[in-house]
């Protein structure tokens, strides 16, 4: 057992840390206020390899290990969860899913464009009527000669409006049991046009793009199908496993940002003639944040270790995602408490952390879904089968 990072992992942390501090964090408040997608930041991340993650070098990625992947995701999440969301979708939901299930041609066509940031990808699973119950999805793909005709609507799709490529799940066999009749397709927006109206009025992730996807008789050649016919639900669950890992790491980033902001503020802010850091109740808030954040980080690394070893990691990932998402919200709440009234305004970043943290308990499987996965491993009984 070794808790030390390798020299390369340390170097990657330094790169991601410096980049996050110098290139991402300074514009985060303004992008959040104006709800501006972070194009300029992403343009700088691509050439540094920060959008290629664990994808092997021959497909334009960096071939880094999963701990390094978590380190980058945490550091980006520490600076701006909106940028981190784009990164999580791009790498974990789209790139790694194409890597695992794509044909050689699909991998060579799409992965280099995605890893470089030239193309933004999105992941279309959730629908207006089907969130946690993804297997019930209503979008259809009907065979027409050698093509498929896709009809339906997707909801809450991160990156949707900015995407050039959508990984879309549709029902291809209505007669099969619901999880077995779904297939996955790769839709190029230019070739297989879909609409992506932006969803406004979000509590957090305000500079991230969230949209619907609308498919109105979109014709897609069979060559755009990802994986086997009827394998779509399995592909989606595998993808979400990767996505949860990334969300967990990003949530640890928010929690760390809450600690950093609170320690700095508590050292400067004086009440009754003393810095508030000298009060025991303030130190308690900070200590609680630190303990939970360190525990969450170790859970993420544990899941990453399983992934590096090539072992099944669903359970470890769900544990990490559940815990990191929950504590990120708690830490943000405490950070506002440390900041007092100033924490309630966007003069300080903690109110943004509070708003951005909230979605981690919802997307890539709610906290309740994570508990059901963990419970299923413990009892052998699937509560939602």
């Amino acid at each position: 057992m070794d808790f030390d990072l390798t020299p390369e992992q340390e170097q990657i942390r330094k790169l991601a840390h410096d980049f996050a501090d110098q290139e991402i964090a300074p514009g985060a408040r303004e992008r959040d206020r104006s709800m501006t997608f972070p194009h300029e930041v992403l343009k700088k991340m691509g050439p540094l390899g920060l959008l290629g993650g664990p994808v092997p070098e021959q497909y334009g990625g960096m071939g880094i290990d999963y701990i390094s992947h978590a380190i980058i995701t945490e550091e980006v999440g520490r600076a701006d969860s909106s940028v981190r969301t784009t990164l999580s979708v791009q790498i974990s939901l789209v790139e790694l899913t194409i890597l695992k299930f794509g044909t050689e041609e699909q991998k060579r066509t799409y992965l280099p464009k995605l890893c470089s940031g030239e193309w933004i990808g999105c992941f279309g699973l959730t629908e207006p009527g089907y969130g946690s119950d993804a297997a019930g999805l209503a979008t259809t793909a009907v065979k027409d000669g050698n093509d498929w005709i896709v009809n339906g609507r997707k909801m809450w799709i991160s990156n949707g409006g900015m995407s050039k490529l959508a990984l879309v799940f549709a029902r291809t066999d209505p007669s099969a049991p619901k999880a077995h009749g779904i297939s996955a397709f790769l839709l190029e927006r230019d070739q297989h046009p879909y609409d992506a109206p932006t969803i406004h009025g979000k509590l957090g992730l305000r500079s991230s793009n969230t949209s619907e996807l609308v498919f109105d008789h979109v014709r897609v050649p069979d060559g755009q199908r990802l994986g086997e016919l009827g394998q779509g639900f399995k592909i989606a669950m595998t993808a979400l496993d990767g996505g949860r890992y990334s969300v967990a790491a990003g949530a640890v980033g928010i929690a760390q940002a809450c600690i950093d902001a609170s320690v700095a503020y508590a050292g400067q802010r004086k009440t009754f003639g003393k810095p508030i850091a000298s009060y025991q109740l303030v130190q308690e808030l900070i200590a609680d944040m630190i303990v939970e954040t360190e525990a969450a980080r170790l859970l993420v690394y544990k899941a990453g270790h399983e992934k590096n070893a090539g072992r099944p990691s669903t359970r470890a990932t769900s544990i990490a995602k559940l815990y990191a998402a929950e504590i990120a919200s708690r830490c943000a709440d405490r950070a506002i408490q440390v900041h007092g009234g100033y924490g309630f305004s966007d003069e300080f970043p903690v109110e943004r952390y509070y708003r951005d943290a909230r979605v981690n308990r919802l997307y890539e499987g709610t906290s309740q879904i994570q508990k059901l996965i963990i419970g299923r491993f413990a009892t052998g009984i699937d509560a939602i089968a």
């Binding site: 340390e10 170097q11 990657i12 410096d18 390899g49 290629g52």
Partner: protein, 265 residues
């Protein structure tokens, strides 16, 4: 063109250093280490030349403790081709001229067209090594450099002198030096680049050879001045808040204080 960059590992400039209990050194336990900022500019300047001409090779050398390897790896990850560490007993204790002689031995073996050093290190601010290195090599030296390029003319691939841009009061000058030359760097054209992930992965595979400082034949060490006392800067006094609501009177009072008390006007 062949470039050799000399890079010293110093405490990271973002770290607040503390004086150790002995009162004459810094507390090493609190320190994270990094390439000295002016040396980082030198690395960037070398890599800018490599960007302009892909046939350029950049080697980087550091002299000091084994941990300096981390900084060399950082330089490799930024895009340098090779790195050399000069280490071993006595390396850290060498005084400026001894460091220059050791680096000269490395330069004589590497045969670069240009040696780049930062204008001074961020720990001792002595600014000695670059000039002393030129002296030890018997090569010309140009200081406060902001850019360099091979001079025009001469057969392709050869280095027919080096044009050097140098910052001077109110502008810049362009000097031409016959190669090989030692340049001490003021600032690169761009801010030092981030090491990229591909760079980090490539650097991971590279060996960093270590040279024992004792094998370089630099002769007896010179007498070295020693630090007898280190003091942190005095704590800053509290600021003054001017509470008079009248803007004109406040501005007049502020101007008076800046001129008479702070003496900055």
């Amino acid at each position: 063109m062949k470039i050799l960059v000399c890079a010293k590992q110093t405490p990271d400039s973002t770290v607040r250093v503390k004086v150790a209990p002995d009162g004459r050194s810094v507390d090493a336990a609190q320190i994270t280490w990094a390439v000295s900022p002016y040396d980082e500019y030198a690395v960037e300047m070398a890599l800018e030349r490599k960007d302009a001409d892909a046939s350029t090779t950049v080697a980087v050398v550091s002299l000091g403790a084994a941990r300096a390897k981390d900084s060399l790896r950082q330089a490799l990850a930024m895009g340098c081709d090779e790195a050399i560490l000069v280490s071993g007993p006595g390396a850290e204790a060498l005084e400026g001229l001894g460091v220059a002689k050791a680096l000269a031995a490395v330069a004589q073996e590497a045969k670069p067209d240009v040696v780049l050093c930062g204008r001074q290190a961020s720990d001792d601010d002595q600014g000695l090594v670059g000039a002393a290195l030129a002296e030890a090599l018997g090569w010309p030296h140009v200081a406060t450099v902001t850019k360099f390029a091979p001079a025009d003319g001469g057969p392709a691939g050869s280095v027919n002198g080096i044009d050097v841009w140098k910052e001077v009061e109110g502008g810049h000058e362009v000097w031409r030096a016959p190669g090989p030359v030692v340049l001490t760097v003021q600032k690169s054209e761009k801010e030092p680049r981030y090491p990229s992930l591909p760079g980090i992965m490539k650097a991971k595979k590279k060996e960093i050879p270590e040279k024992d400082v004792a094998s370089l034949g630099i002769g007896a060490s010179l007498p070295k001045p020693e630090i007898v006392k280190m003091e942190p800067p005095a704590a800053r006094g509290g600021g003054k808040i001017m509470k008079d609501g009248d803007a004109k009177r406040t501005a007049q009072e502020l101007a008076r204080l800046l001129r008479e008390e702070a003496k900055v006007l």
